[in-house]
Symmetry: C2
Subunit: 712 residues, 2 copies
């Protein structure tokens, strides 16, 4: 749930803190908190709360919260789960705006713990209390020394503009202490029973100290709140980078065991993050490099085309290989740029991008700086990347050679014509001397080929939230609301009637209750025809031998009718059979698939891909959340191999992509209109005919949402 | 070319070295070499060769190689390209077994340099001389101080069992100096004009000091020599790990600019490496981690199922996510293992794999060790992975907590029941205190999630070279040798005749020169039929409207015949038309593609995948080199989506996979028999009928190799 930001502000900017369960025992979590507060020179009040001790670690203690002389901004609750629930109630009644609950034993342990967590949350909500945890390590704000943190903190953690928020405490520690990030906040959100990641992001958007939020995300529990937070983050020019854990089956199990969270569908979660402008990364290192790059002082890297420079042909070739995988594009240098650069190179070398300056620059680093300037002057270049490994073990003499290059990069950076970053292909990063030179000059450093290029790709991509206007008009047809609410499952024919009633073109067809009406239907439709069993009890007709294709004469109609009935009687003897559906056989188009399916907590999501058997084989489908407008539908199609099929790259004949885009947006409208009544829709195949000839839905399955699942 | 190993041994084990072009100037490459030899305490003789100076850097000099009192084992040639060619000839004539040529200006600069390189190579070959370079940094053997290396070396480089061989000099420096590897040899092979990577590997296989070869590979110039070297490496239990550069178009350009090498096809090169047991990696870090793990003292990790242990649910979940991508599988623990481990855990935690020990082990690390032992006792577990991030910035107190865990791992490792590795998700690696503890205990350390898991996956996989018996029998039919050697291009009908003559089933068909013979052909074949233009000048019939499918009666045959001719006349007016091919229309099977194409320098390679349009869309094909036996063909099919199609996962009806495997191996035999005459073969589609019904080639294209390309 979302709470008034003022209370979270009180917690994160607390000037006075009570610690319930305070103890001097070295292994006690409260002891860590108290020692951290002292070590971090927290300048506010700290009140240990202890039933009997008069002082803890030299600080005067009180027996109960109610005995405090003033109401503190925050209370750290370092007592076991059951007691913590009581203390939260007490603090809430006292009007304390913020709390950190460290104890485990809540929802992550099962049903009983879940009930405890509900009670805890209810008390906090009753008092509008911001609450970090439970089952967390707490939070830390380096600028104020507010170290409500129950694990050891690295002394002298680098301060900066990256806020780290993690569902996992150990990951928060690892990221905060890795030394690569200047840290503004560390939040171990734990089970996030009350205050969740969206709330923290909303708060960060109001500060001017946070430039980047680095998230370790196990699940998104409240998509609308998260979306609102991202909108505010975007307005505040705050970048949000997220690593999701539990993306694999086993990983999800590990996560679930850890905090009681259930991971949502991967694709839907990624679509949600993308839509709302969250940069999703693949591992710890890519998270660190991306946050480091986005939080670097000065202008952020931008544009889409880099120029890379270095002194190793092999290293630059490898960099180019990795760039291709990371979607980072190289600028095509103008011939005048190349001619100018050639003058800086030895006779055997030639200007290209990536640019191998050769070892000549070790003796003459000005050439390196001049080359950077020439590259930057080329209008096709938006960002420069200096690719250079500088062995960590070098002595001062050895490092000196590389330092010349680092200085040249620094000189170029100082002029500020275009952004430049330094990238070390080995993750260990540059030699200390080089690192210092670059840091002093303000040049961002990237470490590791894949992580560094991932970061670069993310920083250069436009991560603005995608704006799709929400659908406001509700175009429900009462007759279909009723049909979707009651009666048996929809047959294929009914599903197509539904689609037709909503403006979607389907195959022409007739329901034939007997053999001879099937023959007449075929004669009316024209040869060849397709015949399919029609039954509310047989959603998957192929599996019971209920489909016959390419029927070309009357005798074949009769034989197919008998065969389909015989198959159904044998393989689905209990099914109610309405007859056989006789359909025109459409050929000559591209077969596609469009579908809707539920992806909690995001609701119905739309899937598009090539139709028929191959999509299932190759996974060439793509998913987006709703609403989908024509632009989003076009993008979605563009993410699948369908895109090339429709463009007619092979046949030279373009398909009616516009009609297909219409179909996709129409299905999006249907999802909006009938959301409470639909569990899934599967239009497969849809034939996309040549340009101007539209689309036809050849087969359709609509699965209703059962009453019991429907919110009222 | 491959040289007698004895000469390479003389070079790499040289006890006396001459340096031609010796100079005291600090920037001179010879100066680097001389100072490196002195700094590395090379105990052999070093003779500077200088036209006038009587001594260089305190070493007595001679004016020419011929003036040396003894024949040296090796000569370092530090003079410009043209002069270097002369010096190599002189050295060769003097019988000096080994040389290092540092200069650039050879094949990497273009045609003129290429001629110089040929002259250089010819002289070396004439004297059976092993030659490192040209266009290289030289080589370094830490054990003997043989530092024939023209760039700065990190003082005190860690010695060990990893030989680094790189086509790129800068990469050799970066890898050798990264501090993660214990190094036995560093070779910057440069243009490898004479002695190439295969030669170095063959030498390493004869030593007992090298356990792992880490390669930075731009191309494989001599596949048979490389294959022989790998066979020897495998016999010597030497692991070979390779990173290829120039895998992308732009990367290849960078590489070509660098050394004049042209990268081979990616897929064929990867197939070649896989076949010969080379472990191919994706980036520098994965190369380093894999070499580090494989060279770790003691038993190598093995098997396929790991158990992972840690104290962070989030970290372990992320590890599991990455493991899924890296193909590293988790063991399914027995219930008795879980029950026993549960007793070590706090009440709210439960044993699983990965195993979250929770923070309880910080106070009681024995539990961690006991858990490792219980996991190792489970027969499903082959390797243990301790997943732990330990912040670099921690002070001694903070590090102490983690040190307990490191000691527990060390204690477990000492018992030696099963291999254990430590993995840090952040690439920076563990805190120095933890690192020392682990190194002292001999526990291998992996750094970085993706690189570390990549290394683990490689180490656990069986990388033995694949044994496929070579085809010895030559089954050429003279008539077909003649037809492939002369006359016009083969038509579809001829291609199918060729296949039939070699035991491959094709569609039944008749060539019809006129309309009425087409009708008779269709009547004989049975309805429906397919009609196709037959012309040696129209290899791609669809593109000129030369194919009509599903023709169902006599009138349609006549209409199709006219339409096909009209299309051909319009779109290919110059083509010689033999008539129209009337074919039976086969339906009801799975469509596949099988092909042969040239992939220099590996010769003909075999491609398999789903047939028709989708394979081109989805890239769902796989490639292998020849020969291919039934096992290799089955593996190859298993790498493509075709595998699932054939297994009938969707229809429930299995296809005649055995017949398809036969077809693939038959095509392999054809490639062997007609190798000099074939440029490409494309069988697409091939219909694989239901089990027991065989396969049919529906369309076939055979492109002959032109005489001019054929070796005689």
């Amino acid at each position: 749930m979302t709470l008034p930001n003022t209370h979270l502000r009180s917690l994160l900017e607390a000037r006075s803190v009570a610690v319930v369960g305070a103890s001097e025992r070295p292994e006690a979590s409260s002891g860590f908190v108290l020692r951290n507060l002292l070590a971090c020179n927290f300048s506010g009040h700290v009140w240990p709360v202890h039933p009997s001790a008069s002082s803890i670690l030299g600080l005067p203690a009180v027996p109960r919260l109610a005995d405090l002389p003033h109401r503190p901004d925050a209370v750290v609750i370092a007592v076991p789960a059951a007691t913590a629930v009581e203390v939260v109630r007490e603090a809430s009644e006292l009007g304390i705006p913020g709390a950190v609950v460290l104890a485990s034993g809540f929802a992550e342990t099962g049903a009983a713990g879940g009930l405890l967590q509900q009670a805890l949350a209810a008390s906090a909500v009753a008092g509008n209390m911001a609450l970090c945890g439970p089952n967390c390590l707490g939070l830390y704000v380096p600028a104020t020394g507010l170290a409500l943190f129950s694990s050891r903190l690295v002394p002298g953690m680098r301060r900066g503009s990256v806020a780290i928020v993690s569902h996992s405490g150990a990951t928060a520690i690892a990221l905060a202490n890795c030394g690569r990030l200047g840290v503004s906040h560390v939040v171990s959100a734990g089970n996030a029973a009350v205050t969740d990641i969206a709330d923290y992001m909303t708060y960060f958007a109001t500060t001017d100290t946070v430039r980047v939020v680095a998230l370790l995300l196990e699940k998104i529990s409240n998509p609308p709140a998260f979306a609102r937070a991202m909108a505010q983050a975007h307005q505040a020019n705050l970048k949000v980078v997220a690593l999701r854990t539990g993306r694999s089956v086993r990983g999800a199990r590990s996560t679930a065991a850890h905090t009681g969270a259930l991971a949502g569908s991967n694709e839907a979660t990624s679509a949600f993050l993308r839509r709302h402008g969250v940069i999703e990364v693949n591992d710890y290192d890519e998270l660190v490099e991306t946050a480091a790059l986005l939080s670097a002082p000065g202008r952020r890297v931008a544009g889409r085309s880099i120029a890379a420079i270095g002194v190793s042909g092999g290293g630059l070739a490898h960099f180019a290989d990795l760039a291709a995988s990371a979607g980072v594009a190289f600028a095509e240098l103008s011939s005048s740029t190349k001619t100018a650069i050639d003058k800086l190179l030895p006779p055997f070398a030639h200007a290209d991008n990536p640019l191998d300056m050769t070892g000549i620059v070790f003796g003459d680093p000005d050439r390196y700086r001049d080359a950077l300037e020439l590259l930057a002057a080329d209008s096709s270049v938006s960002t420069l990347v200096a690719v250079q490994d500088t062995p960590l073990g070098l002595d001062a003499d050895g490092a000196h050679e590389y330092a010349g290059i680092a200085s040249a990069i620094g000189q170029f950076h100082a002029k500020g014509s275009k952004p430049v970053v330094f990238l070390s292909l080995l993750a260990d990063g540059p030699h200390p001397v080089i690192r210092e030179t670059l840091l002093a000059a303000g040049v961002p450093i990237l470490q590791g080929g894949r992580a560094g290029l991932g970061a670069l790709g993310h920083a250069m991509a436009d991560s603005a939230p995608r704006r799709v206007d929400p659908l406001t008009e509700l175009r429900r047809q009462d007759v279909w609301v009723r049909r979707l609410s009651e009666g048996p499952a929809l047959t294929e024919r009914e599903a197509k009637d539904f689609l037709s009633a909503h403006g979607i073109a389907t195959t022409r067809e007739r329901l034939a209750p007997d053999r001879e009406s099937a023959v007449r239907a075929a004669q009316t439709l024209g040869w060849p025809v397709v015949m399919k069993i029609e039954s509310p009890d047989i959603p998957h007709k192929t599996e019971v031998g209920g489909v016959q294709l390419g029927i070309r004469d009357e005798a074949a109609v009769r034989a197919a009718f008998d065969l389909i009935h015989a198959n159904a009687q044998r393989l689905a003897p209990q099914a109610r059979i309405h007859g056989v559906l006789v359909q025109e056989m459409v050929s000559g188009g591209v077969e596609a698939l469009v579908g809707l399916a539920r992806h909690p907590p995001f609701g119905l999501a739309l899937t598009v891909g090539p139709g028929g058997v191959f999509v299932e084989l190759t996974g060439g489908h793509a998913l987006d959340l709703l609403p989908v407008d024509a632009a989003a539908a076009t993008d979605l199609i563009g993410k699948t191999p369908l895109h090339r099929l429709l463009s007619g790259y092979r046949t030279g004949l373009g398909s009616d992509t516009a009609a297909f885009v219409d179909l996709v947006t129409q299905l999006g409208q249907i999802a909006h209109d009938y959301e409470p009544y639909l569990e899934a829709v599967d239009l497969n195949p849809v034939t996309v005919l040549p340009s101007g000839q539209g689309v036809r839905v050849l087969d359709a399955l609509i699965v209703r949402r059962m009453d019991t699942d429907r919110p009222h």
